[in-house]
Amino acid sequence: MLNVLFFVSIACFFVTAFLHVAGGFFKKEGLQKAGWLALIVSTLILSVYLVARGISAGRIPMSNQFEFATFFAWGIAVMTLILHYRMKVEGIAPFAIPGVFVLLSYAALLPKDITELMPALKSAWFVSHISSAILSYSAFAIACFLGIRYLTMLRRGASPEDKAMQDLDYLSYRMIAFGFIFLTLVILTGCIWAEQAWSTFWSWDPKETWALITWIIYAIYLHLRINRKYRGKKMAVYVIVAMICVIFTFVGVNQLMPGLHSYG
């Protein structure tokens, strides 16, 4: 039953992505409105799935790659809704929702069994560490989608001086600032947790090292943005490249570099 709900949510996100991409491409307001409605429905279904899985597992479902990927997709969907309805940001859904669909499709390929938490994961730090990672990754993903949107608009002839372009640029920076604080929290809570579980704050495990590399990449972005006043196209390209690093930290490290975080 749980799996059915999961696949229903994937199907819903597929339809949502189609509506947004088609609505954006053909500039049909009706399709876009239907897309937003579909996004609300899809996110609700995914939320119900996550709650049901949590109840069934007796814990927050964030303990393995499948659960993290699903939560990550949910985080992007929720942030897209917040950006649209609360901050009135337009034009991000045609990029973000296909991203959510791809992420859920990746999750679908992973083992979905509910497994008992291994002793190292039974910690008070579990929720704060993983949920910070989800918030941080989701914010970086949204920043990346905003960067893609910026470049697309630039290609279509928009000027970097346009208010809409400056808004996109600024919002992308704010999302990275938000994500950066949470990535810092991921690393710090991870250190404290590692000291309790493995007796050492830092072991240069591939996941830890790549989290540090990601942190450095975004730290450089923030310095360039704030102190060097870098704006526009360069920074849009930067956030897209930085997102590749986030994806590698999330997927690549787990698949290619065995270490202490191999269960995640």
Partner: protein, 414 residues
């Protein structure tokens, strides 16, 4: 000298260091660390020697990698902490900046003070200020990073760690005389039946006081100055040995290969492996899963009996008694025992490190979500100065104020 100092405190230098640290760290994750020298030569026939020469096989402890962090510390010290004096004047500079700023173009409201108040500005004499704490954000963040580097260096340099495998019922004596006795070890939570590694310990401290407690994964415990972690577990073979049929058993706990003998000649060679084996018809003992092997499956210890100059490989099943050279050996099921990690760390190091963690989070919050701004009201207009990302912040503040005035007055301001 001045030039060097200027370069050391420059953002360019800091960014360069971060980029080099990141690039080297990538290499550190791609090249397996702390392997045998031969492993690199075999895995990287061309680059193996270069990897070894550059120390990329133990990158994180090389002098140049550690040196990069030292330089980063210096950069943080010069770029931020030594410019501490600046922050005293930051507030005055921001207010003066607002005095000098032009009024916001195309923006006019009947009550600018009310707009500023609503946007979180506080009046300071005839000027308005918002988020003044944000002026110290960069200083707090960089100081936190510097403190964190120092605290990490202290922790890594001053902590001492030792691993002990202790059988249940046995004790280990630590350098200062503290004795830690393992009372019990279990791998299952009694109530839930779930996997849970737990050691019940009793410690006799140097002052002869006795402390008891349990350690579990994620739940280490202090015994005196030692922090004890449930680190691992292992299995040891067990055998009851007696010298005559009705004599008293002596329990031998076997945590590795051993030769059990009374006369030094006849006895049992214990190889240390317990598991499920295949006993073939021709008397061979093969490991479970051996291709095309057929025979009886049985659990036990693989042993060799040495008697009268003869050697026979066989399987000792649990509770089976084997008599060799007049000695009775009864093997029992293996027993689990804990691997404990015992760590000492100077008492100041952890609070120092956690303080730097907290300071970093506060600093980052101030940096990005507490952006300071100052404003001056000129008639129905506002002159605004914001730190950090001035143009956009000013524009966004103006925008919000526009919304405010639209709401208040029913139409857009001219």
């Amino acid at each position: 000298m001045k030039k060097i100092f200027r370069f050391l405190r420059s953002m360019k230098f800091g960014m360069l260091l971060l980029a080099v640290i990141a690039a080297l760290s990538v290499a550190g994750t791609l090249i397996p660390q702390e392997q045998e020298t031969q492993a690199y030569e075999a895995a990287y026939p061309v680059m193996g020697k270069v990897i070894l020469f550059l120390g990329l096989d133990h990158l994180y402890s090389t002098w140049y990698y550690i040196g990069l962090f030292l330089l980063l510390g210096l950069s943080l010290l010069f770029c931020s902490v030594l410019r501490f004096g600046r922050i005293w004047h930051a507030k005055a500079a921001l207010l003066a900046g607002a005095e000098r700023a032009d009024v916001l173009e195309g923006f006019s409201v009947s009550d600018p003070a009310a707009v500023l108040k609503k946007k979180g500005f506080r009046k300071a004499s005839d000027r308005w200020i918002k988020n003044p704490l944000g002026l110290y954000a960069s200083f707090v963040t960089h100081t936190a990073l510097l403190l964190m580097l120092i605290a990490c260096a202290c922790v890594f340099a001053l902590q001492e760690k030792e691993d002990y495998s202790v059988m249940v019922g046995e004790a280990v004596t630590l350098p200062d005389g503290t004795m830690i006795h393992v009372d019990a070890f279990s791998m299952e939570d009694e109530k839930s039946g779930k996997l849970e590694y737990r050691s019940d310990l009793t410690a006799v401290l140097p002052d002869q006081s006795v402390v008891s407690g349990e350690v579990r994964v994620n739940h280490p415990k202090y015994f005196g100055r030692y922090k004890v972690y449930q680190q691992s577990y292992a299995y040891a073979g067990q055998a009851d040995i007696r010298t005559d049929e009705h004599g008293r058993d002596e329990r031998a706990v076997l945590d590795g290969a051993a030769f059990l003998t009374l006369d030094g000649v006849n006895g049992i060679s214990y190889m240390g492996n317990y598991g499920t084996f295949i006993l073939t018809e021709d008397g061979q003992i093969l490991p479970e899963g051996y291709p095309d092997a057929e025979g009886e499956m049985a659990e036990g210890y693989m042993i060799a009996i040495l008697e009268n100059g003869q050697q026979k490989l066989t399987l000792a099943r649990p509770d089976e008694t084997i008599v060799v050279g007049g000695v009775y050996y009864t093997f029992r099921a293996p027993a689990a025992y804990p691997g404990l990690r015992v760590k000492t760390i100077p008492s100041f190091a952890l609070p120092f490190l956690y303080f730097s963690f907290a300071l970093l989070v506060i600093g980052l919050y101030l940096c990005f979500f507490h952006i300071p701004a100052a404003a001056v009201v000129r008639g129905e207009q506002i002159a605004l100065k914001a730190a950090g990302d001035p143009e956009t912040v000013v524009r966004l503040l103006l925008e919000s104020a526009e919304n405010h005035s639209t709401k208040d007055q029913g139409d857009r301001p001219e």
